[in-house]
Structures are given as C-alpha cells and as structure tokens.
C-alpha cells in the first residue's frame, strides 16, 4: 500500500459501484467525494451508515447516484437536503429506505460472511412493506415469534475520513468504531486522513486497538481539512456560512451547480484536482 493523491483515490471507485459512506459524526471524506464528482462517477449504489447529509446530497445533485440505501438524509441543523428531496419527487433515484440498525445488521452479515442477520422490530412498518428484499421468519427457538431477517449488504468500496493514518495503510479511528464495520464489510476500503504519521500505528499500545489494519485498506490519501465543508471532530467545525448558502441555493439545479463549482474551488480544490 502506498499513500496516493485524492484524485487517484477517487479513481478507485468504478461507475456502478456499491459505495458505503459514513455519517457526518464518523468522518466524511468530502474532498474525495468532490473528486468523485469531478471525475463524473455514474450509477453509484450509495449506502449510508446509517444516515448522511451533504455528501449524499451533492453526489445526488451531481447525478452520480442511481440507488440510495439509507435511514435518513438530512443536513441537520441547516435543514432538509435539497437535491435529495428533488430527486425523490422526480423519481430520478431508486430508494431503498431502511432503519439505522438494519443497515448495521446488513453490514455485519457481510463482515461475518453470513447470508443474513435477524433483527427485532421493523414488523408492521411501511419500511418493511417497501423492502421486498427483507424477509420475515419464525424464530426457530420460539414458535409464533416472528422476526425480520436482513440480507448481507456487501459494498464494493468503503470511503471515509479519519484523523490519522500511517504509511503502511493502518488507520486510527478512535471511538468511531462503525468505520471498522465499513472496512470489514466492504470488498475494498479507501480512506482520506487528516494526518499521516511515519510511525506504525499498530505498534502504539494505546491506539492499536482502535486501528483498522492495512489488511483491509487499499489506499490512503492525505487530505487536511478533508471533511470540509463539514466539520471533523474537535479538529474543525462545519463551515456554517457555506452550509447556509448551500441550503438556500441548492433548491434549484442552477443554484446547486454554483455551489458545486464553489466547493470544487474550495479548500479541497488542490487535493481533488
């Protein structure tokens, strides 16, 4: 494994890939998502773990997404996701509405090489009614106890942003343990990192338990402020001015195009080029 540029990283997501991405609090690789848009990736099957915001909205707005598997898309305190809303109304993306633990369970089935996982709840909902790929069985240990079973979600590529990676491809995730699930479930994992260290993270006794080992990591790109315009942990907050402009402008395709252009000129520009 070697450390690559963000554009090179984005080139590792083929058209039509099932791409799994993280929620805003986990670490969103916005610079890489912008690089994906720049190279014009098409027909993504996007899986959000379990929810998403700006990253999904911009990928949809830029016409990169064919199918969206999610528990919720929202820009949080900034408001509803405009491109997502527009795409839903126009029917331009195929929706696979889920519920948070069902996305985790599908990925855990993939992580464990299992065909399915059972999960409580979900019965008698319109979520289930609209997911013909989900099934209901009788609990084999208690007759009459119906339980939902969810097929494995096996992503082609996992993409996320982390605070620290080393040159071997080991990636430190701190308390964002769901990122390990993404990496374990996906066939390949590509990561952007705020910092790159020359040390071996697996040899750091304090950190090593929170490291995704290089075994799962296909490429790492150095991307300082790689989550912008989103925030990243304690490192930096969301760019509230940009987000507020986005939520208004992106209500129209032309306004979205302007915001996309601005983002492509933003702090990530030199990374994504």
């Amino acid at each position: 494994m070697s450390v690559v540029g963000v554009a090179e990283l984005a080139a590792m997501v083929p058209d039509g890939a099932k791409l799994v991405i993280a929620k805003d609090e986990s670490g969103v690789a916005m610079a890489a998502a912008l690089a994906l848009i720049r190279r014009g990736v098409k027909n993504l099957h996007l899986v959000t773990v379990p929810v998403s915001g700006l990253e999904t909205d911009m990928l949809i707005g830029a016409g990169c997404v064919a199918t969206l598997e999610t528990s919720a898309i929202t820009l949080g305190e900034f408001g509803l996701a405009p491109c997502f809303s527009r795409a839903v109304k126009s029917g331009s993306i195929k929706l696979k509405d889920a519920t948070c633990p069902a996305i985790y369970a599908g990925l855990q089935a993939a992580q464990k090489g299992l065909p399915f996982m059972p999960l409580r709840g979900i019965l008698e909902t319109d979520v289930l009614a609209n997911r013909p790929d989900w099934k209901v069985i009788d609990n084999p240990f208690e007759s009459g106890d119906r339980i939902v079973v969810l097929p494995a979600i096996v992503p082609d590529v996992a993409l996320f942003h982390v605070p620290l990676a080393d040159r071997h491809g080991n990636v430190f995730i701190g308390r964002q343990r769901e990122l390990m699930l993404l990496a374990h479930a996906a066939r390949s994992t590509i990561v952007t990192a705020e910092h790159i260290t020359d040390d071996n993270l697996l040899e750091d006794e304090a950190r090593s338990g929170s490291v995704i080992p290089a075994l799962y990591v296909n490429a790492v790109a150095h991307a300082p402020r790689g989550a912008w315009p989103l925030g990243f942990g304690d490192a930096y907050p969301a760019d509230a001015a940009w987000m507020s402009r986005y939520i208004t402008e992106a209500r129209t395709p032309a306004g979205f195009a302007r915001m996309l252009e601005a983002a492509l000129q933003g702090p990530g520009a030199r990374l994504a080029a």
Binding site: A72, D97, V127
Partner: protein
C-alpha cells in the same frame, strides 16, 4: 437575594417548561438515550441526571462528554434490544391517534410530495425502548393527523409481536398527553401555561381522551430553574451551543 433566587427571578419560559415536563417523564430511568438534533430532550435528560444524583445515566448522541459509547453507532441499538435503555425520544412529521409515527414524508411512497429525512432508528427503537417519549413542538393538524401517510414505526397493536417498548407520552408546545397502551389512545394530561384544552382540540387531527378537568402543566420552581439555567445549560451547550445561548437569553 440568594444566588438561586437571582438566577430564577425571570419566570419560566416555554422551553424551560418543556425541559422540566420531559424530565418529569424520565424520573426513575436508569439509562436515558438522546438521539441526534434533540436539544430539549437532551437538556431534560441531563436535568434528570442532575436531580437523580447520578442514578440516571444519560447518553447524548453527538456529545463527547455525555456519551460513553465505544462500540460504534450500533451500540445504542444493541443496548436497546437488551433492555438497557429505559427512555428514548422520537419525533414525527406526522403522528396519528394510534401513535403511529411517520418520519418519511407526505403523499404516496416513494415519490412523495414532501420528503423528510427518513425513518432513522424509529422502526426498531419504538418496539424496544419501554418509555419512548414523542416530542414535537409544532402542534397543528398538519402534524397530528387522523392517519399517517407512511408508518415509520407503528403504535402498539395486539399482534403477538415481541414489543417490550412503545410510546409513553407525547409532548408538544401546547400540552402533554399520556399514551394508554391498553386502550391505544392518547389521554390529555396537562395543558401548558397560557394554552387551553380548546386550542389543543382545534389543532389536533385525531381523537383523544380528555378528562373533565385538565390541569395546567406545572412550571419549574426556582430551584429547578436555577438548575436548568446553570448546570444543564452548561452541559447541553457542549453539543448544542446555539441552543444553550438561546436558553440563556430567554
């Protein structure tokens, strides 16, 4: 004037009444979890923890200081299924009289007229958390409908499904309802100061039980206000700085 009296000299605002009322619903919980974008429930949970002297544990998603989870996003859901979360909060773009909730949108799925974010964890947590508190400030017939357009999470039914959880209460900007699980109906418990039963009835699109006398929702006393304006405001400010600033300015 004592310090408590001074900080509490200003009368309780509507947000403080909500925080105090929700905290009342949480009393005795061993573990309250608070989801994303939930400053008022978060403040109520932190208030409950403060008055419990630590007997109530609180996990605020999105917080670093008030969230001890270390097993990733799935941990909340695992804990809920184990019965280790006593109380949680859900909202609803639409809520009906059978306590079905809709977080997905208005119209026919999938190409809905209005699309909201999505069901989040509701389809699961509603079944598993014993005290789910429905919280929606906007109290209109647009929100409280006869029947939801999309069932993100269903109210209790006699269907034999494993369901240790379910709706406990509904709190809005106007009032507080209990939910009677046996009768599967909301029961008006109290109306917030400055509002009336008629106002509640006019703005609610579903039928509910209403006793002859409906008391006013109790306002927090001076000690409670001091706690909300002091420790609770400081603690919730870590996750919701804007909300904490508004709380100070009320």
């Amino acid at each position: 004037m004592s310090a408590v009296a001074e900080v509490a000299a200003r009368a309780a605002g509507p947000t403080e009444v909500l925080i105090h009322s929700i905290a009342g619903l949480l009393a005795g919980s061993r573990h309250v979890a608070v989801g994303a974008s939930s400053p008022i429930p978060g403040a109520a949970a932190l208030y409950t923890r403060a008055v419990s002297e630590g007997a109530t544990r609180v996990s605020v998603l999105g917080s670093r200081r008030h969230n001890a989870f270390t097993n990733g996003g799935v941990e909340l859901f695992d804990l809920a299924a184990q019965g280790r979360i006593d109380a949680f909060f859900l909202g609803g773009g639409q809520i009906d009289g059978a306590a079905n909730i809709n977080l997905v949108g208005v119209g026919s799925y999938p190409q809905m007229e209005v699309r909201w974010p999505g069901s989040f964890g509701s389809a699961y947590l509603y079944y598993l958390v014993p005290r789910v508190i429905l919280f929606r400030e906007e109290h209109t017939r647009r929100v409280f409908v006869p029947k939801v357009d999309f069932v993100s999470a269903p109210g209790p039914r006699d269907d034999g499904i494993y369901r240790p959880g379910g709706p406990h209460a509904l709190i809005t900007s106007l009032c507080l309802f209990d939910f009677d699980r046996a009768r599967k109906r909301f029961v008006l418990r109290s109306v917030h100061p400055g509002h009336t039963v008629e106002e509640v009835r006019d703005n609610t699109g579903f039928d509910f039980d209403c006793p002859a006398q409906v008391p006013a929702t109790p306002a927090p006393d001076a000690a409670a206000l001091a706690l909300i304006r002091g420790q609770v405001r400081e603690e919730i400010g870590e996750t919701y700085p804007k909300f904490a600033a508004q709380l100070a300015a009320v």
